[in-house]
Point group: C14
Chain length 93, copies 14
């Protein structure tokens, strides 16, 4: 039953670390984008529409990298082909 | 009973580290966003409505990455498929 | 009794590190937010009400990430499902 | 069955870390690009078309490096030649 | 008696590190807040009341994260449920 | 069959890390280049043609280092001479 | 006598590191606070009373985090419940 | 067959890391060079010819360090004297 | 005699590292405080008395954290309760 | 045959790391030199000849440190006295 | 004779590292203090007496932390109570 | 033959790392010197002779530290007294 | 003869690292002091005597920390009491 | 012959690292000193004599720390008292 244990432990640890590490920089990047958006709004209130639209497109792009990490974590927890193979094998055993 | 121990230990450690590491940068990013919001408010008090609204949308986006990490931690503690499988197995044993 | 020891040690270490690491950045972020709030107050004393309100909302958002970490620590110390399972098992043994 | 376990564990850990590490800097780079785009829009609202177009081309270039990492992760999880070889071998065994 | 030793050692080390690490950033954050408060007082001596009040609220928020860490350390030293369980067990043995 | 396992594991881990690490800095470098391009466009809208052309040449140069890493990863996964040698040997065995 | 040794060694090392690490940032934070206090005094000699009072309150807050660490070290050296338990046990043995 | 395995693993890991690490800084350096080229073009559109020529010479120099690393990687994968010696030996064995 | 060796080694290493690490930041903090004091003296020679007095109070506060570390080191070398206990025990043996 | 394996592995790993690490800073240094050259050209187009000449001498000096590393790598791969000695010995054996 | 060896090795390594690490930051701090002293002298040559006096007091304070480390090193080499105890014991043996 | 292997491996690894690490900072330092030389030339084209002469003396001083490292590497590869002693011994054996 | 080997190895490694690490920051600190001295000379050529005198006193103070490290290294190589004791013992043996 | 091997390996590795690490910061410090010297020459060409003289004294002081490291390396390679003792012993054996 060693294979099962190792695959489970590796999946748990990797799922956690991928989300944990991968969410660090998107948060910083979005913080920077929001910060300059606020500065820009204070400088040029008339361009609010363009600034807000560009900000949302940018936030969506940045958020997408965090979502890649979250997706990989979810795949590793709930749709892990290696774990499925090991379970199938231990059942068919 | 080795499998159970290892899966439990890995889940505990990963749940803690994911929240611990993953909450670092959102806190910094929000701190930056709030800081520039305050600077912007001091420069342009008239644009308070737009600034506040943009700030809240931005904070929600940044907070979302912290929540991804918290969700992964909670899944690992209270809805961990690997742990459930191991428990089911040790009961059916 | 190895399982019990390992789960206890992992819970203790993780509970401490999660709070220890997770409280680093909120403190820095809040320090930054408070610092710019003070600068903003010195520049625009008339906008004190808006600045103070925005600061408190921001501090609450940042503090929330520290509280996620503290909550995970408390769950690991006082409501740890893995520890409960191990205790229940060692009693029923 | 050692080969299978090791290949599975290595694939899981690498898939997670590649996406986790590889998404850090694109997020920072995009955050910077979006931030200067907003500053530029506030300075020169008339050049919005050129700025937006250049921003999107740049974001696509930066996002491409994140996508390289995501692609490598997906290959390692769902189309891993080493894992396929090991499975084929363990079946034909 | 191995369980007792390990739990004791883990509690001691974690209690120390949690306070040691967790007090780093609050100190930096408070230093920053106090520093800008002093700059703000020098720029706008008339707003001393508002600045001082906002500073004290901010310091209390930042100090709270250091206190979370200190509380976790004290719980681990003087009210550690894992240690109590181990002692109770070794007595009832 | 140890040789095969080790070569497979090393190839998987290296392929992932090479892309993961190697895509960090190109993303930062491109982010910087795009950011200054946007600033330059806002300052000198008349020079848009020269700026855009220089930006694209620069992005191509920077992207090339990311592509070197991706190429090495692909070689290690799909055209690995060491793995081919090991497979050939294990077949001819 | 292994338990005693391990608890003693862990207490010694943790006591030293807690004070060593925990005194780093308060020193930096106080250095920053004192530095800006001096700058503020040079800019606004008339506000010396307010500046000095605010500085002393701030220094006390920052020093408090260093004192938490020192207190934990002293508890670990001179009032360590784990060590007392071990000594009591080895005497009653 | 241990020698062969070790040499293969070392070659794979080193080839990947050399390209991965060695491409980090050229990307940053080129990003900086391109960025200042764009700033320079915006300031002095008349000197475009000299700036572009100097930029290309500079990019070639910087790219050369990335190419050194890529060359070492390729030598280690496709023209590795140590691997050739080991293969020759295992054949002549 | 293993206990004695381990306690001695741990005391030596911890005593050195506590002073070594703990004296880093006070030195930096004092350097910063002295530096701004000199700048302040050059700007406002008339406020020399207030600046010097505030500087000395600040230096005393910062030096106090270095002294905490030195005190812990001296306690560990010359008044170490764990070492005394071990010696007493080995004598009474 | 252990000696041969170890020397081969050490040569491979060191050759790669020396080039990989040693090419990092020259790339950064050249990037900085090229960047300021471009700024200087934009400020003083008349001094283009002197600036270009000084830049090339400087780039040659910086490149020389990268070439030292590349030379050491090449010596370790193709003219390694330790490897030659080991081969000679294993032949004469 | 194991105790003697370990105590000697620990004393040597700690003595070196304490001085090596502990002299880093005083050097930086003094460098900063001297640097600002020179800037201050250039700005306000008339205040040379006050500046020089304050500089010397400050350098003495900073140097004191380096001296704490040097003292601990000298104690560990020439007046080490643990070593003396071990020697006394091995003689009386 | 263990001595020979270990000495050879240590010499190879150290020779590579010494050049690799030791060439990092000279490259950065020269980059900085060349960069300011170019800025200085753009500001004061008349002082080109003095600037160029000072730059070359400075570059020679900085290059000298890189050459120390390269010399140590060459000594370790081609004139290593420890290796010579080991070879002489293994021959005379 | 194990004691002798370990003491010798520890002395060699510590002597090297103490000088290597301990000379890093004095070099940086002196670089900073010399740099500001040159800036100060360019601003205020008339104060050259005071500046030069203060610079030399400051350099002597900073150099002193490097010399502490060099002294500890020399003591460990040529006047090491632990080594002397071990040699005396191995002779008297 | 273990003692000889270990002493040789430790001497080789330490000699390399001492020079490699110890030459990093002098190079940076000299780079900074030369850079400000060039800026100073561009600002005040008349003070070239004083600036050049001060620069050379400063470079000599900084270079001295690199030379301390080089001297320790040379002592460890060519005049190592521990190695001499070991050789003498192995001869007299």
């Amino acid at each position: 039953m060693d294979t099962m244990t190792l695959v489970a432990v590796a999946s748990i640890v990797t799922a956690g670390l991928t989300t944990g590490i991968g969410c660090m920089c998107p948060a910083l990047g979005e913080g920077r984008a929001v910060a300059t958006a606020l500065t820009a709004l204070a400088q040029q209130p008339d361009a609010a529409a363009t600034i807000t639209r560009t900000l949302f497109v940018g936030l969506a792009m940045i958020e997408s990298t965090a979502i890649y990490c979250f997706v990989v974590s979810m795949i590793l927890i709930f749709a892990n082909p290696f774990w499925n193979h090991v379970i199938a094998q231990s059942v068919g055993h």
